[in-house]
Amino acid sequence: MKAKIHVYLKPGVLDPQGAAVAGALHNMGYEEVTAARQGKLIELDLTGDDADAAKARVDEMCQKLLSNPVIESYSIDIA
């Protein structure tokens, strides 16, 4: 099984990388871009085949290590 985890900055947390991306795209003439945010994508290969159980474990991993609750939120897809 694979778990795909998206880690985002929470709303209200300044995102210097996102701001820089938006700024650079603007400078390059992509004026349709009104905002950019940058997050992380973590993919895990997992043994086992119980998707629900896996999701619960991955959720734990996110809370314990993969995200920082002060600034980040996350979502999990198991496939």
Binding site: Q17, A20, V21, G23, A24, N27
Partner: protein, 743 residues
């Protein structure tokens, strides 16, 4: 009929960069046609990068020994004696081709590689330097390359915790298609605990440590030995990605292992990884090797022997251990969570035998790989001698202050703070002077003592282009001068010889001229070459880089309380120039920036004067008479004075003698060699001048410190605030858009 093994044809041999003659030698030495693995091994070992086939014939001209030299060229790095049972180990290396293709990783892995060369020998790395050349600032690729290279150097060096203390940065359209990234590492060791690639004996286990082997950079060494064309970017091998965290662990683990008595020989895996490291140790020990490829730690599945032998995965070392000591290594490397595996043993057969999945996939004699490597006496011609240009032949500008402003804010002279702010310069707590400090060389204290290393990198490619021989001399002399200007005793150099395609006679002429010039200067200044690197084929679509023999110099300051920088001048101090000023303008910064021309002969370097003036200046520094000292180089006296004024936050009133036969712009901006600018209190200045007269040294009072501007004869004012803003502003202006976008 030429003989080929199954599955190999003439084109495949050619793709491996092996020509017909070379292939014939292989057939002769093996007595049969090589298989793919063997061909791959010959290909990398005989590549320009590993075999120095075009350059070897000339490198022997360098003086390489001396009283302080413990190990000259031929090992992983050079070793010099710095007294008290301590040795300094250093080397410079290029990572030009990879950095052009992938600037961040190319530069980062360049730093990683040069660090390994130094800690392989038992040294703890204590300083990094970088010499960079980029294309024209307004070239479409320049910003991206500068941003990536600088971030890569910082990203790696900062993480491993070795301070990046200095370097140099040039911009010139000659590097548009081929940038240069030369990194230098300096380390410290005990003289009785130095490790070599030589020394292995038959019957010893071969231990692989570090990261796993992946398919990174296969044929990197052959790539570094070919010129670019428009398709190169497509043909590139998988880029090597560095992992500085692993490197940091590898340093600590290797130094821990070196503190035990378990190592017979050790060699990092650099270009052509497992192949060159194992061949070099076997060759230097005069032995054979047998490797079981199945035991090589692998990152990917189904790797072939060919791939494993040619991979340039980073952060790996090969250690030949004393028999029975494998467990010592295992324990240490496991503690540091690094891969460690016994992958073979040394033999007395003189052959390199590789076994994979129960079959012998390679069986070739070691000696020809090294000894029979091709060595070419490539034809060459020296460039036409260019006429000297003196300031008398160059129009006199009306406002010297405005010219100075223009020079100081030109790409090569402007502050490089944008770069060095991204380098951790202070980690290890021994940096006494780095890029930010007003010092001609970086100064790094020898931990726990009151002595220090002085380190500099120098080269003036426009001189080398104008006159390879004088330019080669000048590169060495400038390094010597920069060390001297801090009060150090210059000891030895490393070099990185960056040139175009040596198969062109004109380029080979540049190479030979530079080497011979450097050799002459090294000999005259007792400043031997102890390590170095050659990077050829820096050429795109037939356009070569300017000849760039970068020199990395190391010296010793025996007592840190007796040294100089250029920030100590204050109001009322007398300014003096040691050395003769004639107003030499050929190939000068002035001509390039003000007149937009790069013609004329390079300034001549008089090595006797160079030595006499340097020794005099060093003596005065040690006598404690000098408040500030700066060598004169790019932009001449006025630019050195401007540096001093900015650093000391005191204006300078320069005085030009209207009756002299050197015109004012020659006096200010001429680039005559063997000169230093010194500031001293009045009494000290008098004593200095007396000493100079007694020793028959040219010395001239050129001005007085004070005020808030640099001025000449009471006119031509340039306010320091305005100067500082322009000097500091150029690089941020160039980089701002990239700085926002860079990761």
């Amino acid at each position: 009929m030429t003989q080929y093994a199954d599955g190999i044809a003439a084109e495949i041999v050619a793709e491996h960069g092996i020509n017909d003659e070379e292939y014939a030698i292989i057939l002769d030495r093996l007595g049969r046609a090589p298989n793919m693995v063997e061909l791959g091994i010959f290909s990398v070992m005989w590549s320009e990068h590993c075999s120095y086939k075009s350059s070897r014939a000339h490198l022997g001209k360098f003086p390489t020994s001396g009283e302080k030299v413990i190990q000259g060229p031929g090992e992983n790095a050079g070793v010099i004696d710095i007294g008290d049972g301590q040795a300094c180990i250093f080397k410079m290396e290029s990572h030009n081709h990879p950095s052009y293709i992938e600037p961040y990783q190319g530069a980062a892995t360049g730093v990683g590689g040069i660090l390994r060369d130094v800690f392989t020998m038992g040294a703890r790395p204590v300083a990094l330097m970088n010499a960079l050349r980029f294309g024209a600032p307004d070239h479409e690729k320049t910003q991206h390359l500068v941003g990536g290279v600088v971030a890569g150097i910082g990203g790696y060096g900062n993480c491993v915790g070795v301070p990046t203390v200095g370097g140099e940065t040039n911009f010139h359209e000659g590097y548009n298609g081929n940038i240069l990234v030369n990194a230098m590492a300096v380390g410290l060791a005990e003289t009785d605990n130095i490790f070599y690639a030589r020394g292995a004996e038959p019957g010893q286990p071969i231990v692989y440590v570090g990261s796993k082997t992946g398919r990174d950079g296969i044929h990197g060494a052959t790539m570094a030995s070919a010129e670019f064309d428009d398709e190169s970017e497509e043909k590139r091998p998988t880029v090597q990605v560095g992992d500085p965290f692993v490197e940091k662990k590898l340093i600590e683990a290797c130094l821990e292992l070196m503190a035990t008595d378990a190592i017979a020989a050790i060699q990092d895996m650099g270009a052509a990884g497992l192949t060159s490291s194992s061949v070099e140790m076997a060759d230097k020990g005069g032995i054979g090797i047998k490797l079981i490829m199945d035991d090589v730690p692998q990152r990917e599945e189904n790797m072939s022997t060919y791939e494993m032998m040619l991979s340039e995965s980073q952060e790996r070392m090969l250690v030949i251990m004393k028999p029975g000591r494998e467990d010592v290594a295992k324990a240490i490397f496991e503690k540091w969570e690094l891969d460690v595996a016994v992958i073979g043993e040394t033999t007395d057969t003189g052959r390199m035998v590789l076994e994979h999945k129960g079959e012998i996939v390679c069986d070739i004699p070691v000696a020809p790989l090294a000894d029979d490597a091709p060595k070419y006496e490539r034809p060459y011609f020296a460039p036409e001698v260019r006429a000297q240009i003196n300031a008398k032949d160059v129009a006199q500008p009306s406002h010297m202050g405005e010219v100075l402003l223009k020079l100081m804010s030109s790409p090569n002279m402007a502050s490089k703070a944008w770069i060095w702010r991204q380098y951790d310069r202070h980690v290890m707590a021994d940096t006494a002077a780095s890029s930010e400090d007003p010092s001609d060389a970086a100064i790094v204290r020898v931990h726990g003592t009151n002595k220090a290393l002085a380190i500099t990198t120098d080269c003036t490619p426009r001189y080398c282009y104008a006159d390879p021989f004088e330019g080669g001399k000048q590169a060495v002399a400038e390094a010597w001068r920069n060390l001297t200007a801090t009060g150090a005793d210059p000891i030895a150099i490393t070099d990185c010889l960056n040139f175009g395609n040596p198969e062109r006679e004109e380029i080979m002429g540049q190479f030979v001229g530079c080497v011979e010039g450097m050799a002459q200067a090294c000999a005259a200044l007792n400043f031997p070459v102890v390590s170095g690197n050659v990077s050829l084929y820096n050429e795109t679509n037939g356009v070569a880089i300017p000849p760039t023999p970068a020199v990395g110099g190391v010296g010793l300051i025996p007592d840190m309380d007796k040294r100089a920088g250029f920030g100590g001048m204050s109001e009322g101090h007398i300014l003096m120039v040691v050395g003769k000023t004639t107003g030499a303008m050929g190939a000068s910064t002035y001509l390039r920036v003000v007149e937009g021309r790069e013609d004329g002969g390079a300034p001549m370097v008089d090595l006797d004067r160079e030595k006499a003036h340097g020794n005099f200046v060093r003596g005065q520094i040690r006598a404690g008479r000098i408040s500030a000292c700066h060598d004169l180089s790019d932009g001449g006296l006025a630019c050195a004075a401007a540096d001093m004024a900015l650093a000391s936050q005191t204006g300078i009133k320069l005085a030009h003698d209207a009756d002299s036969d050197v015109p004012m712009h020659g006096f200010l901006f001429g680039e005559d060699q063997a000169r230093y600018l010194m500031a001293a209190k009045k009494d000290d200045a008098i004593a200095i001048i007396q000493d100079a007269k007694a020793e028959d040294i040219d010395i001239q009072v050129v001005g007085l410190a004070g005020g808030t501007a640099v001025s000449v004869n009471g006119a031509h004012h340039l306010e320091l605030d305005r100067l500082r803003a322009a000097w500091e502003g150029w690089m941020p202006d160039l980089m701002e858009p990239v700085a926002e976008a860079a990761e």
